[in-house]
Symmetry: C2
Subunit: 348 residues, 2 copies
């Protein structure tokens, strides 16, 4: 389908381990003042002066987290960085460095890894981070990417999942459910392609949701916006597993309850129309779909005037006392308990 | 063979992703002052005050880096930590935190992962480091472990590969070739076992070299020793790929040459006797074997009195001008150029 068919094929064994790392990272320029020594020694050396350091890591496995029949390798490299940066921003921190390790079977030629690293480099450039280390090894089967992201935050500015207080507003950036519906469209087209490899699908009506799936962005801009608005969230998390799962994380760790208003959940028109086409409830998709990489956070009521009119932010609910539980208030004004249905990857 | 046959089998799918991470790390206690927030949020939060931070990462893949037919999972967990800590010490830094991600197929029951994490915990305890993050996911085939290690170093105390100067002494800790010869014994016994599963191999004569392969240690003690001796190496690297490969790294990055004396290379008697038994040249094994995780470093001539009598350290050569090249001076006093033959894992 979308996968790039490389004409040239250079065997990985022609390079060896040292040649490969050197080759793939040779264009990477150091951008962060805190990067003292990047790739090329036993370890990278970083200097954060008096700032605190945040560290997060994620593993992406072929056949579990991505399908190369519709995920171009360049997009995959980009997304592997994004999903980690999103966790750094969710701490209210500035992302500064990543390490990238890959395990890859010999079925991939060098040119495929160059595509993957082109995506990594594109994300590093746009988000102004340095790739300071990594490991490259062979695998018996498929491709696996392990990324660790590092960020810095001024002391006392970090935001945990545990700080939400009763009466705080529950706020989400952007819109939800797009990545999941994009995946549904891609999976459908893959089935069509299997039956008729000559079919030319018209994916234009789904461009936004497909991009949400294949080339998501991390909300660095929201972290900057909150500084500009002089708002420090009381708690924050990124939405990787679906809104309901993340709300439960915040409520459990903050020992609070929550009312979430169905009518307030931000949905793109393309998500709504595609949900209608697939006959899926759009609220269910927003609650459980995952991979949107938006930020979910709580702010004190006193900050309401600062955020109420911002087009990037939606106030979707209120924090309650723990004993009041975690509920969805539907459009019909009924109250339904929210349970985690997030992505469970050992169920296959 | 050595692999533990667990009686109890709990399916990973019974727990789900969140339950699994929580379960595996529930005994891990925070030991480092710099760990502000460990597992449980979007990212760990660390505070190194004015110290520099070092970061390194390594990927271990089943069938490429380890063979579970003779590598017990507890040892594997231990070794996965050690190989990363070794890189931190090679920067002259103190290891403080690790993140551990695993991809695992459903053929492993929960009890197998508990063994793996018992090894990780044992290493974390002995080396006084915190496990502050990770990711757990399914794989289509086999087991893969990705570790990122973090350390701290007082400003100006870090040691790079690039600082060696002509006339410096070349020094190595411990002894070399043991891990490689241990692997040879284990591979031989595996073949014997395939033919006769009832054979009871006597591995006692090989206990040291088998331990070097299955349960290596990282030379934290050498970093402390160097502080006690008031010696700061001019360059340093850990020996993961074999002595010749590491000498070449130091020489290339320092723009120097080197004379290495064959007669000075430290070998354990068990390595010598096993090399004789396998009819392999012990110098070749020390030069190209790899996985010894000893430290190779250079010191100024003025530090000679401080290190000459130390039983943990061997002076094995001298740094020369770059134009003089990199050579092995054999016992017969002939001069042979040293070339990299280190571990290349794309050649299979």
């Amino acid at each position: 389908m979308i996968e790039d068919k490389n004409q040239q094929r250079t065997q990985l064994s022609d390079l060896g381990e040292f040649g490969l790392i050197e080759h793939l990272t040779k264009n990477f320029k150091v951008k962060q003042k805190s990067t003292i020594k990047s790739i090329g020694d036993d370890a990278a050396v970083l200097n954060f002066e008096n700032k605190k350091v945040v560290v997060t890591t994620d593993l992406l496995v072929e056949g579990v987290h991505f399908d190369l029949s519709y995920m171009p390798l360049k997009h995959l490299g980009y997304k592997a960085i994004i999903v980690n940066l999103s966790d750094v921003y969710a701490m209210n921190a500035k992302a500064t460095q990543v390490t990238v390790s890959i395990a890859v079977s010999n079925r991939f030629p060098l040119e495929a890894l160059e595509d993957l690293y082109a995506g990594i480099e594109a994300a590093a450039k746009l988000y102004n981070i340095d790739v300071v280390g990594g490991d490259t090894t062979s695998s018996n089967k498929g491709l696996l990417i392990s990324v660790t992201a590092i960020g810095e935050v001024e002391s006392e500015n970090e935001v945990y999942r545990s700080g939400a207080k009763p009466n705080d507003l529950l706020v989400v950036s952007g819109d939800l459910g797009g990545a999941y519906m994009g995946l549904q469209v891609l999976e459908r087209e893959k089935e069509v392609y299997k039956v008729n490899p000559n079919s030319q699908p018209d994916l234009e009506p789904y461009n936004y949701i497909i991009e949400r799936q294949l080339k998501p962005e991390a909300r660095q801009d929201i972290i900057k916006l909150l500084v500009d608005l002089d708002v420090k969230p009381t708690s924050m998390i990124d939405i990787s597993d679906g809104l309901s799962s993340e709300i439960i994380h915040i409520c459990k760790q903050s020992k609070v309850g929550c009312d979430l208003y169905e009518e307030k959940i931000p949905l793109d028109p393309q998500v709504i129309s595609t949900c209608e086409e697939f006959n899926i409830d759009s609220t269910t998709v927003a609650l459980n779909g995952g991979e949107d990489y938006e930020l979910l956070f709580t702010v004190s009521q006193k900050d309401f005037p600062k955020i109420k009119a911002n087009p990037s932010l939606s106030i979707i609910g209120y924090i309650k006392e723990e004993k009041e539980g975690i509920h969805l208030i539907t459009r019909a004004n009924t109250k339904i308990p929210i349970t985690a249905q997030g992505w469970k990857n050992f169920n296959d």
